[in-house]
Each structure stands twice: as C-alpha cells, then as structure tokens.
C-alpha cells in the first residue's frame, strides 16, 4: 500500500466548543492530526468523545471554533460556504451510519445527485452513476427505491454515491454500525478495495474488527488524541 508523503489532511490545535446555556461543551479540545494521501485510517473512542465532530470538520460540514484545517495544503478555515460546498462535492465523499439515501428517489437518482451539483449533463450523470453502482455490485438495482434494498445494499448504494464524483477522500462515520457482522465485512472489503485504488479513507468505528483492518487507528477521548495504534501486517 503506497502512502503518499504529502499530507492530505492537516489539523492544528483544533477546538470545537458547543455552548449549552451557561455550559461550554468542548467537543474537540486542542486536537492536532495529520493524515497522508492514500491512508486507511480509523478513528475510535468512547461515545461522546468527539469522533463525529472531528469528521464533520474534516469534511467541511463544520468549522472549528479555533485552530487551523488544511486540506491538500489549502487552509479551509477562511473559505466561503460556497467554496466549501464545492470541496464537499468534488473532493470528499461521505458515508453515514444511517445511509441517508433520499427515499423518494431511485437508487440511480440518489447516486447521480452529487453530479447534479457539479453541473454534469443528464446522460453523463446516468452513465457515471451506473458505473459507480456496478462497481459496488448494484448494477441490477438502478431503478429500485432505497426502501426496496437490504441494509448492506443501501450502504453499498451510499458508497457508490460517495465515489461517483471520484473524490480523493472518503469519510465514513460508523458505516457498519447498522449492519450485521457478515454484511459489515463485505462493506469493509469494499473500503479496502477503494483504498487500494489510492483513495484516502477515514472510518469512525466502535468495532475492533473494523479498526484492525486499518493501518492507523486514531484514538480520541474527551476531544483529545490518545497515542495512536499502527497496525503492521
């Protein structure tokens, strides 16, 4: 597995505070982290430790209260919301625990949606979305609604949607959390395959089975990092 020397993600002393009335919850408390290109990293930690908050900041869905975030060398803390939308659209693919497919749309339409926001033409959209679905093994379910798929199929559709714009970074927040062990393993196989194609992947998980398959295991507690584990195979 080639790991790029150039860091893709650089977090420097990140703080994220939530103000709850008079209390301030420090979801992230001075966290620094660097992730290189092509790495398969997992983030583990107890519930409420700040894993999702960290992912949201890396994914340009949220801004830190303090600290600096660089993606591919670019400081995103100073970018406009509009620019961040474009980065989410082109460079980042999200995979959620609850799949988050849009129920009224077919699987094909769901997967094609990110392309809509990068103004790709209809025929090209359908071609790329079909290709992505074929890649995750759902080439025969294009017209189905999300409710007509099993959990594992839904998650594969969500992965197809995440990779349809061919982003370099995939962020998955407990992608196997809602799946049984066998299905979870199939999803992990898919992630390893996508990683071997050169994509940087970060997976938040509670499942040791999942984190064991990642070279780096970043441990978060109370919004801070604990010494990380590097798996050597």
């Amino acid at each position: 597995m080639d790991v790029n020397i150039n860091p893709v993600i650089e977090l420097e002393n990140i703080h994220r505070d939530y103000r709850m009335g008079d209390n301030i919850v420090k979801a992230l408390d001075g966290l620094s982290l660097t992730i290189g290109g092509g790495e398969l990293t997992s983030i583990v930690g107890p519930s409420g430790s700040g894993k999702s908050t960290l992912m949201n900041i890396i994914g340009c869905l949220d801004r830190p209260t303090d600290g600096r975030v660089r993606l591919n060398g670019e400081d995103i803390s100073i970018l406009s919301d509009k620019r961040l939308s474009t980065i989410r659209n082109r460079n980042i693919g999200f995979i959620f625990q609850q799949f988050n497919l849009m129920p009224r749309l077919s699987i094909l339409e769901n997967v094609a949606t990110p392309l809509l926001y990068s103004r790709v033409k209809t025929s090209e959209r359908n071609r790329l979305a079909t290709a992505a679905l074929q890649k995750v093994g759902l080439g025969d379910r294009l017209k189905h609604r999300p409710t007509e798929l099993s959990g594992g199929q839904k998650q594969r559709a969500a992965i197809a949607r995440a990779i349809v714009t061919n982003p370099s970074l995939l962020l998955a927040d407990e992608p196997t959390g809602a799946l049984d062990t066998t299905t979870g393993e199939l999803i992990m196989d898919l992630f390893r395959q996508l990683n071997s194609e050169g994509r940087t992947i970060i997976i938040v998980t509670h499942d040791p089975e999942v984190s064991q398959q990642c070279r780096r295991v970043v441990r978060v507690r109370d919004g801070k990092l604990e010494p990380e584990i590097v798996n050597v195979y």
């Binding site: 949201n56 509009k82 082109r90 959620f96």
Partner: protein
Amino acid sequence: MFIENIKLSLKNFITNKMRTLLSLLGIMIGVSSVILITTLGNSATSNIKNEIASGGMDLIMIYGGWGNARSQKVFHSGLGEELDDMLDTIIASTPNHQVSALAKSRNKTAFFEVNCISPSYAEVFNIEMPAGRFFSDSDSIDKYPGIILGNKTAQTLFPAGGSVGKPLKLIINQCTYQFTVIGVMKKKDANMGLSFNDVILMDLNYYRSRIAKVEVVNSFFLKAADASVAAQANTDVNEYLQTKTSEKDGFWVDSPSSISEMFNKVTKTLNLVLAAIAGISLLVGGIGIMNIMLVSVTERTREIGIRKALGAQASAIRGQFLTESAVLTIIGGILGVILGTVLGKLVTELMKWSFSPVLSAYVLAIGFSAAIGVFFGLYPAVRASRLDPIQALSYE
C-alpha cells in the same frame, strides 16, 4: 438542474396529492373566479353590443318637451330638420308624436299606438317595405289620408292579408277618421325599446293639419352620418339643445352608442372589482402556499442536510424549493383556469350568450400564479437554504 427540479417538484406533488391540492384551493378559486368573471363580462358585453348594434348604432334619440312653456318651444315639429341642417354629424331626422287610436278594419277593432312621423322615418330606421310604399315628400298630405301598418298590426287588423289599399278607420279623441293603408313594414326587431311591428305610422303633417294642431313634439329620432361618429353626434345634439334651453332635465338625448359607452364604463368598474377579488384570493392562496412549503421544508430537513453534504450550494437548495412552489402554483393556476372555463361555458350556455373567453386573462392568470409561487415560496426556500447541514442531517 432546472428540469431536475421540476421533476422533483412533480414527484413531491404526486406523493402528497391531497394535501397539496387543498393548499392550492386559494389559488384555484382566485384564478377560476378571474376566468369566470372575465368570460361572463366579455360574453355579456358582446351579447348586449350585438343586440344594440343589430338595431343600428347610428341612432340618436331626443326626448323632450316636458319643460316650461319657454323651453317647450324648442321642441317644435321642425326641430329634427333644424338639427339635420345645423349639425354635420346628422344626416336624417324624424319627429315622433305618439297618440293612441282605436283602429277599425272591416271585421277587427283594436287599440294601437299611432306614431306620427315624417317620411325620413324610413331612412332613420332603414325601414323596408315588402308591401306597398312608404310616405314620400311629394305626397299631397292635405288630401291623401295614407297610413302605414306594422307587420303585426297588419296581421291583427287584416288576418286574411292583402291590407294594402284597404280602408281603415281610426278613432282618435272620439273623432273618426278614414284612411287607406298604403304599405306594411317588414318585420323588425325592437331597437332601444322602440317597437316597429305593432304600430301604425301616420304623417305628422297630416295629423297636425287635420287632426290636432300640436305645437310640441316630445320625441325625435336622428340618424348619425356613420356609426363611428354616433358618439360625437350624441354630444353635438346635446350641446346644440343646451344652447336652446338652459332648463335642466328639459330634454334627454340617448343613443345606442352612448349606452354602449356606458356599458364600457360598467365593464371597467367590473374589472376593478375583479382585480380586488383576484388580489384577495391570490393573497390568501399565496399564504397557503407559503404554509405548505414551510411544512415541506421542515419535513425534508434531512433531505436538505444530505444534499448539502453532497455539495449542494445554498443557491441550489433555494432554487429547488422556489421551483417547487412555482410548479405548485402553476398547477393550481391551470386547475383554476380549467374550472373557470368550464363554469363560464356552463353559464353562457345557460344564458344563451356566445362564449367569449378573454385570452389575456388566461395569460395573466397563469403568469400571476407563477409569480405568487416565487414570491410566497421565497421565504421557505431561503429558510431551507440556510439550514445548517449537520443539524439538518441529525434531524429526526
């Protein structure tokens, strides 16, 4: 993207048919009442105008002679000719002095209205004479006791037909006069309340020299040079008479053209009322749309979060919801147009009017519906576009 948004809107419309239709009621009622009222207004107007025009738009009527003795002098039997001479817009005139008479033919007796007129009457009203002839200026009126019958009068007095040349007795003010029928008028629709079929015509000069020497004639009928100058002629006559008598209400000038002008004014007022109705119901409809769109935004908070995570810019979300509310109101507008047209067709059919919908009202109605959708959809759309993606994603 626009086409995608329209597809999405239709999809959402189909998913929530009933509730969306209910929210569109305001727009539907507004639009259908606009279409209905404009259709009825236009149909009624063209119907009434047709009715008036069928009798000739070039007619001008003067009723007078109710004033004081001084102003009564204005309405002498030659006033019609005087106006004809003085005003360029008038080309023919006839006095009309009405008396009633008991008419006795050989075997029938009946009361009739006798219109004492001049030979120009035929020109003023475009009288056609299928049998006999009309009065002429060369008739030696002192001696010739000719008389003309309306179509129905002839049928009543001479049921066997062939009335021309027959004698007819008229009893006026208890005196009996002997006449000969010289002609029968062609059947003719009443015009401005003037009937032609159940009357008897007599030459006013004959009446004045032999029956009663009337000085004041209370009505005159004039013919304008052309229908297009009828309104002008109406004004001219009014002004001329005003120079003759200063007495208020001493006379009254009327014409189909002035009535149709009045009708136009009424139509304008009607349009104002219509605009008010439309305005109110569209406002109510717009608020209904705003409400349903706010509900829709709330329900789809999670979808909005997903779209934002996938890279939708605020403007894309705004566009999606604006398109959706415009599509909804256009659907409402189309349904309203259909409803209004069907109702308009029904009512005109019932009234036996010709069905004349107003095209501009249709264009305006649909355009307005779309505008309402954009206007009242703006707030919900902006709200949707400003949602925080993380909060939206965790919305249950």
